[in-house]
C-alpha cells in the first residue's frame, strides 16, 4: 500500500476501498460463507467482471450525501416556516402524498432491508459494496420522504400512521406483497426484480409523476426531495442495467432464468404502478401528463430501446408487454373508480373529476374515456348532487398474486372483466390476468400463503367484522376524518379556511350511504 502520491486516483481509491477489502478465505469454504449464491441456478464464473460504473467509495459517499442533505433539510425548514402547504395548487393534491407516504415510502425501507440482506450474500466484493451503498440510499430516502411530508401531517388528515397502515390496509397489501415477494426471493432474483425491473425499467413511471406532480402543484418540499434523490436514482438505474448485463454475460445458462424473472417482475411492477396511473390522471389538480403518455415515453419508447439492446444476450421483451401496452388506455380510470367506491376504507379522499378535468381526460383518452368511463362518473356525480354519494358496501375479490381487486378488463374487450382461476391441491384461486396466473403457476407454494386483506377480515383476524370497525380499530383510519369523499371533508374545509373561501355544502360528503 505504500505510495508517494498524496492523492489516489479514483480508480486506485476504488480498488483499495472495495475490491482490496475482500480476501480469499483460508479456513472456511466460500460456499459456507456465501450459502445463498448458488441455489437459484445463476452461474458466476468471474466476479471481477462486475463493473461499478460510478466507482463510488464510502468516504466520497458520506461527504457527498451529507452536503446534499444539509441543503435538503434547510429547504424543509424554510418550507415549514413559510407555511408552504398554503401555496399548493389545491388540497386535493395532498391525497397523492398520502398515497405516496403509505404506499411508496415503506418500500424504500423494504429496499434498504433487501439490499442489506443480499449485499451479504455475494462473494464478489464489488457487488457487496454496491448493495451496501444502495441500502444506505434507500434508508436515507425513506427518512427524507417522511421528513418532507411531515409538515403536511400537521395540517391535513390521513398521514399520521403510515407504517402501521402499510402492514394492514387492504390496498397497501399491493405494494407490501410486491416487496415481500422480492425480499423473500434469492439474491439474484432480488436484484433482477428491484435493481433491474423496478429501478431500471419502471422507476421513471413512479418518480416522474410524483416529483413533477409535486412541482406542478407547488409542493416545494417534495420537489426538493425528488432532486436530492435523483442522483441516487440515476446511480441505481445504471447499476440495474450493469447487474443484468453482468449476469447475462457470466453464463448462457443464466439467460432463461433471468428471462423468467423479467417476465414476472415486469408484470408485478406494472400492476403495482396501476396505483400511480390513477394518481397521475385523477389526483393531481395540475396534471403533468396522462398515464398513457407517460407509459408511451417511459415504457414503450425507452423500454423498447432497452430490450432491443438486450436482444444480443438472447433476452426478449417481457411476456405480457402487449397486455400492458393495451392497458394504458384503461387502468387509471378503473383504479380511480375503485377507490371512489371504496373511499370509506382508505386514508385518503376521492372525488368526481370536475367538468374541466373530465374534458381533459376525454382529450387524453379519445378512444376510451367518453365511451367507457365518463358515463360511470357522471352517474355517480348525479347521485352525489342528490346527496346519495355512492359507496360500495361489499368487499372485493382480490387477485391472489398482485392483491389488487380483480378490476381489470380483458386486453381486447373493455366491457368484459379479466378473470382467471385455477385449482391447486384442492383449493381454488382467483387472478386478475394471465400475467398473475402464470406467476402463481410457476411457484404456487409462494402465493397460497398470501395474506389477502379481504379473507383476513372474513377470518376474524382484523379486530372486527364490519368495515367501520376494521377501518378505525385495525387500520387506524379516522372515520369521518381521513376517509370518504373529499368535498365537505375536514381537509376540504380547512383548505377553504386557508383560502378564505365560503364552504359549499351542496355536494358535501354524506356518508349515510356508507357502511
Amino acid at each position: 500500500m505504500a505510495t508517494n502520491k498524496k492523492k489516489l486516483s479514483l480508480k486506485d481509491k476504488y480498488q483499495y476501498l472495495t475490491r482490496d477489502m475482500a480476501w480469499e478465505p483460508s479456513y472456511q469454504s466460500k460456499k459456507d460463507i456465501f450459502p445463498q449464491e448458488d441455489f437459484e441456478g445463476i452461474k458466476i464464473t468471474d466476479w471481477d467482471k462486475w463493473e461499478d460504473p460510478f466507482r463510488l467509495t464510502m468516504d466520497a459517499y458520506w461527504k457527498y450525501q451529507a452536503e446534499k442533505e444539509k441543503k435538503l433539510y434547510a429547504i424543509f425548514d424554510a418550507f415549514a416556516q413559510n407555511n408552504g402547504h398554503q401555496n399548493i395548487s389545491d388540497a386535493r393534491y395532498v391525497n397523492a402524498l398520502k398515497l405516496f407516504l403509505t404506499g411508496v415510502s415503506p418500500l424504500e425501507y423494504g429496499a434498504f432491508q433487501g439490499y442489506s440482506r443480499v449485499g451479504r450474500q455475494f462473494s464478489g466484493a464489488g457487488a457487496r459494496t454496491a448493495c451496501q451503498m444502495q441500502a444506505i440510499d434507500e434508508l436515507r430516502h425513506v427518512q427524507t420522504q417522511i421528513h418532507a411530508m411531515s409538515h403536511y401531517n400537521k395540517h391535513f388528515n390521513g398521514l399520521h400512521d403510515f407504517a402501521h397502515m402499510h402492514d394492514r390496509v387492504w390496498f397497501l397489501s399491493v405494494p407490501k406483497s410486491f416487496f415481500d415477494d422480492a425480499r423473500s426471493a434469492g439474491p439474484f432474483e432480488f436484484l433482477t426484480a428491484i435493481s433491474f425491473s423496478f429501478e431500471y425499467v419502471l422507476t421513471n413511471l413512479l418518480f416522474v409523476p410524483f416529483m413533477s406532480g409535486a412541482a406542478y402543484n407547488g409542493d416545494m418540499a417534495t420537489v426538493t426531495f425528488g432532486f436530492s434523490a435523483q442522483s441516487d436514482e440515476a446511480r441505481h438505474m445504471t447499476l440495474g442495467l450493469e447487474v443484468i448485463k453482468f449476469m447475462l454475460e457470466q453464463h448462457e445458462d443464466n439467460v432463461p432464468i433471468i428471462q423468467h424473472w423479467i417476465d414476472k417482475w415486469f408484470w408485478r411492477g406494472y400492476r403495482l404502478l396501476s396505483l400511480v396511473s390513477m394518481m397521475m390522471d385523477y389526483m393531481l389538480p395540475n396534471k403533468v401528463m396522462s398515464w398513457k403518455d407517460a407509459w408511451e415515453v417511459y415504457y414503450e419508447q425507452n423500454g423498447g430501446a432497452l430490450f432491443k439492446d438486450l436482444e444480443r444476450y438472447g433476452i426478449r421483451p417481457p411476456k405480457y408487454q402487449d397486455e400492458a401496452n393495451k392497458g394504458k388506455e384503461h387502468i387509471s380510470h378503473q383504479l380511480w373508480a375503485t377507490f371512489y367506491q371504496y373511499s370509506q376504507a382508505t386514508n385518503f379522499h376521492t372525488w368526481i373529476p370536475s367538468e374541466e378535468e373530465m374534458n381533459w381526460l376525454s382529450e387524453q383518452y379519445p378512444d376510451t374515456f367518453d365511451q367507457y368511463y365518463r358515463p360511470r362518473f357522471e352517474h355517480w356525480q348525479a347521485l352525489q348532487e342528490k346527496g346519495e354519494r355512492f359507496y360500495n358496501n361489499t368487499l372485493p375479490q382480490l387477485c391472489q398474486v398482485c392483491q389488487v381487486p380483480a378490476l381489470f378488463t380483458e386486453p381486447d374487450d373493455p366491457t368484459k372483466l379479466s378473470h382467471r382461476s385455477l385449482e391447486h391441491e384442492g383449493e381454488r384461486y382467483h387472478f386478475c390476468s394471465d400475467g398473475c396466473c402464470d406467476i402463481f403457476k410457476y411457484e404456487p407454494e409462494k402465493y397460497i400463503q398470501a395474506w389477502l386483506p379481504v379473507h383476513q377480515i372474513y377470518q376474524g383476524n382484523c379486530e372486527g367484522a364490519d368495515v367501520e370497525t376494521v377501518v378505525t380499530k385495525y387500520y387506524h383510519i379516522g372515520a369521518g376524518q381521513d376517509n370518504f369523499e373529499y368535498l365537505g371533508s375536514p381537509d376540504h374545509k380547512r383548505w377553504q379556511a386557508i383560502k378564505g373561501q365560503k364552504p359549499d355544502e351542496s355536494q358535501a360528503a354524506k356518508p349515510k350511504n356508507a357502511a
Binding site: F39, G186, A337, P375, T394, Q397, E427, R428, E445, H455
Partner: protein
Amino acid sequence: MSVKAISDYITQPKDTVANFNGMQVVYVHWAKHLMYCSPFAFLVSPDMTLAGFFAEVLRPAIKDHPDSTRVDFMEAQWLLNGQGFSPTPEAALLAQGIDHKSMLTLNTPGLNGINGCAS
C-alpha cells in the same frame, strides 16, 4: 414448477375453508356491470339457501345500480366457476356445488349497464 429454496419449503394455504369459522367465501360477478369494480366477495354460511342468498346478500349488494330493479335472478343466465349452472332456490349453497371460493357469474341479457357501456 415449484419454489427454489435454500431448505425445504413447506407452506400451508392461508384461506382454506377451515379458517372461516364455519362460513365460506362466495364471489359473484355481474357481467357488463363494471360500476361494481370487481366481483363481490361474500362471507356466507354453506347451509344458506340460494333463495336466501339472493334475497339477503346479493339483492342488497346490487341495489344501487340503476339496472338492479330489472334483474330476475331466476331468469338470469348463471355460470358457476365458468360452467353453466341452473340455480335451485330452495337448496343450500353447498348442496348445489357452490363451495368455498366459488365464483358465480350473473349474466342479464338486455341489461348492459349505465348508458349501455357495461358500467
